[in-house]
Symmetry: D2
């Protein structure tokens, strides 16, 4: 904790800050400069808000110098986390593709999707049974029936299942049918949900919120890790900016930034990241080139009749082409796929 | 629904779009321009994604022309909604202040807060019993014990109670102790929670998410309204932008925009909107000048020792000054307070 | 300058940073904490990039602790700057209105505008002779002929003239006809232009760029001040965010933030800030309530036929109502208008 | 031009809109729906502001349906533009690297840079002679002396020269020494400069402003093209968002979006796009994987002593590694480098 006093701060003001730091358990080092006095607080205290000091009289600014997350940091665990599920490794040398429709709609649709994505080289089928929709008048998902369909199709095609959990009450159901539980962007800071997921022992894919900083994403991962569930993968899926030619602005740089800050695997979702089918392939290549450990891609046997997200969903043929090109890029940078 | 075809789109492409519109139940009007053909679809269908048409071959762009929300719109109900709770009216001539600490910490703290804010003219006491915190290592709230303290202090001081509900499982508890249930910014799109709140008959204060558009805020309100709970007030509390000198950027213009688009009362939260105590007073004046029906303000008997949000919390004396100035501005624009 | 070393940084890495700081002329204080070593550099050096240290091995983060602007800071000059032009004071007790059309179109239009805004209480007429337009096919302004029209109408109606300078070659022309030279948002970082304006002795109104931080606005003001021209006023006119229901998001909080950081007067432009006529009046009230020293408002005798910005331009009648309400708010907060 | 009337708009309101459209030269098609009346305007008029209709009574929203740029559009010229300078082709099969220091500092520095980047495979040397700096107290560039140094080093090493033009008065000087004139992000909407560059016949590299939409970038290109200079390349270099772990957020998706909308070559600048050396290599790979025609990279023989932008500048060795990996990715997607 560093507190920089304003130019001309009085001795009384400086001492008030020192007093408060000491009461909070910090040891204080004082350094008097030509212009500014700087107070360095060293201590066991992690849970405080630097802004509380910034509003004290005579204070110019404060900086927390210990990262607010620990278990998620690369410093805490220098080697990358590899999540092993059956024979699939996420975070290893292979770039893993997870693909399937936005929503589970019917047995036929899922069986066709599973066959197509498995044949193209994906290892995991995705599909939503509970759908968070911004309008109350939109399709809200098939629920447990959808999960059953997903599980059966996955088993027939040698795939794993990833599906979204929207609420803590849905956790037991998801645990029964899915291999990876997905937390959607809107729930990245649903802390009750995160805490409960920390008590499970299934891998979690945690999506970055559309207005979340990378640090906030890591703090949300920390909620899960601090509960004892260490199998968390992070997913970049686009942030909200002023640009409207894509649905979101995919922050590809978040991939190398996360690889530097954390040991957790990083997945990229070019479907939500762009919102338009035509841009999914080049952005999938870009994400892999930037170092992503996996891709999450929306594929549907008949995208034009998908009940949700059709605009960003690939035809199976387009997905097969994506896999081919993604593998070429992975190989070019020394990875496999 | 309007579909604009690209310059040079073929007849086959145009017909494919027409076919799809007709299959969805639209009646289609075709208008052929010098450069672009435009298809206007008229129909009973509300639940579709314009982007699904934008990826069709030959399509330049699509526009949904019916607002995706109905019950929340000013067109649906031209007169402003006035929410009556006991003798307090929200959305009427008076600007209503709701004030109190971020978190309930103790009986003494709440009693002191209730006395102070009531004395200064507030009608509602705020205080969190369940705290959404970005770090798992931060204080998480007193729970039901906190709600009891809040209720008792409110009753002793002739105040109403507003408190945040973070999860659908907490609804029964909140209904027992609070007069207004607050949905936090992080939960603005927790649709399961919104749907359950639509089944209650208590007033809801719905905060705008930090990356939510005004339209998305209205869609979230629609979730509650469509369940039959018509007592919803909307709260502007700052959005996330590139500017860092305030915690969020308070979108004051959202106030007149909302007053135009919806009949629901609009509340402003200058504490979260700025994140810094010194800016709360001028921004409270600005919000009222822009037309807000109420203010939500953080006040604590000893802000420097508040367990959360201390930096943006006012001393009781500062709050009394805020009320005085806010009333002067309200009077200047023809309202009371 | 503060450099925080990473947890586990080696002695060699720490010394490399110390060496570099010393070579740049800093005196270095070292403070070794339990987790992090912090280096405080004190020195006469202002012109350096903290990021250059952040990429050194073993460095976690850097903070510049001396503000990069000086002459613009409230610390340098605690009393607010009052700009006196004839009998008009900007930055004094009165809130000053500057109003008129976006573009100078004709003598009749300007004469009608000047009469109307003067009659309603404005002190300055605005009007563009050179128009920055995002499309090369749009109207680009009347040039010197426009300035002549503006000057004559102002003189007949007892008004001052403000007009935009787009390029350093236009400065002599503007100096001849205008009382205040306006720098548009797109030119806020046209440093050649700013430097040349620093050599003039006419008041400058500097608009905030749509993606500029408050600190960058102050740095741009510093360019002008450091040339010896101390009469600079700053103008908040909206920033670009994800919200689209207004043309820009008006950052009303920038007004109290600027009043705290700088002694320069602060003007608000609710016309560009919102882009829509209906929101200009409530946002003008809000800006004054937040502490603005003046308003810049687009007014046209026939807004529906304005060659530019008609959507955000007021009718003279609407402007008269705005002045009345603005004056009521100014009085309510202890100012005049 | 499409105008959607509000639900319940009166006949009088609708006719006022039709009148105005007709007066502007549009032919109007009227389509009356169950809820909304839609007016389609077809006409030769390009220069108007849709917002001017949106503020008319009874109007819900307006959409311009003809793109405001023409010469820059892929529809106007379906085949990609290839800019040939000597033996170098930009926009062809090869991915072209342009590299060198941020600022020209000395003959030795530039000679060392030229040798290094040429040896690694770059075709163009970059270096600024005039530096736009946000602080007036920072180094402002060597001017013409710097351009001479750049030209000489380029000639000795078989390279082309790209350098930034900050102001229209500098154009003649730049034309004498440089092969490509760069327009910086801050000048993307300096329309006087763009217009003058349209009169030259040298290739222009136009950088996207940090808050510019893709459409605005294309409109700025249109300024140059409409002057008769058809050799324009566009450069994505990061936009400003809320994320602070990188200096800007590089909008990699802008690359495929631009390739779809325009025939002009697209260059990526991962140095400014990230602001940090460690992220330049992965983002260079990502940009090429997404389809960029070239890269603009900052390289300096001694980055830690660069006078500007050192933090994002590569060592020659790092640049050589970047070229190797970039070439591998280019090959993987069927291009050369």
């Amino acid at each position: 904790m560093l507190v920089v006093m304003q130019e001309g701060a009085t001795e009384r003001q400086t001492e008030a800050v020192i007093d408060r730091l000491v009461k909070m358990g910090f040891t204080v080092h004082r350094s008097t400069g030509v212009v500014h006095t700087v107070l360095g607080g060293v201590g066991p205290v992690d849970d405080f808000d630097p802004a509380a000091f910034e509003v004290m009289e005579g204070v110019k600014e404060c900086h927390r110098i210990v990262s607010p997350y620990k278990l998620a940091s690369r410093h805490f665990k220098p080697a990358g986390t590899v999540i092993q599920i059956g024979s699939v490794q996420i975070g290893g040398k292979d770039v893993v593709a997870m693909a399937g429709p936005c929503s589970v709609e019917s047995e036929e649709q899922i069986e066709a999707s599973a066959e197509a994505v498995s044949h193209a080289g994906a290892k995991v089928i995705r599909g939503g049974a509970f759908k968070p929709r911004s309008s109350p008048y939109s399709f809200q998902g098939m629920g447990e029936a959808g999960l059953k369909i997903l599980r059966a199709a996955a088993d027939r095609n040698g795939l794993l299942v990833i599906s979204e959990v929207m609420d803590q009450v849905q956790i037991p159901l998801l645990l029964e049918y899915a291999d990876i539980l997905q937390v959607g962007a809107r729930n990245m800071q649903n802390f009750n949900l995160l805490r409960e997921l920390g008590k499970t022992r299934k891998p979690i894919l945690l999506k970055r919120g559309i207005a979340a900083t990378i640090e906030e994403l890591l703090l949300s991962a920390e909620y899960i890790l601090s509960g004892g569930n260490y199998e968390v993968m992070l997913c970049e899926r686009g942030i909200r900016t002023f640009e409207t030619s894509t649905r979101n602005t995919m922050d590809i740089a978040a991939i190398p930034v996360l690889r530097r800050l954390t040991h957790l695997p990083v997945i990229a979702d070019p479907s939500h990241g762009t919102g338009k089918r035509d841009y999914v392939l080049p952005m999938a290549r870009a994400a892999v080139a930037a170092g992503a450990d996996g891709l999450l891609v929306e594929v549907h046997p008949d995208p034009d009749h998908a009940v949700s997200d059709g605009a960003q969903t690939l035809h199976p043929k387009q997905f097969a082409e994506l896999m081919k090109q993604m593998q070429a890029v992975a190989t070019a940078i020394g990875r496999a796929a």
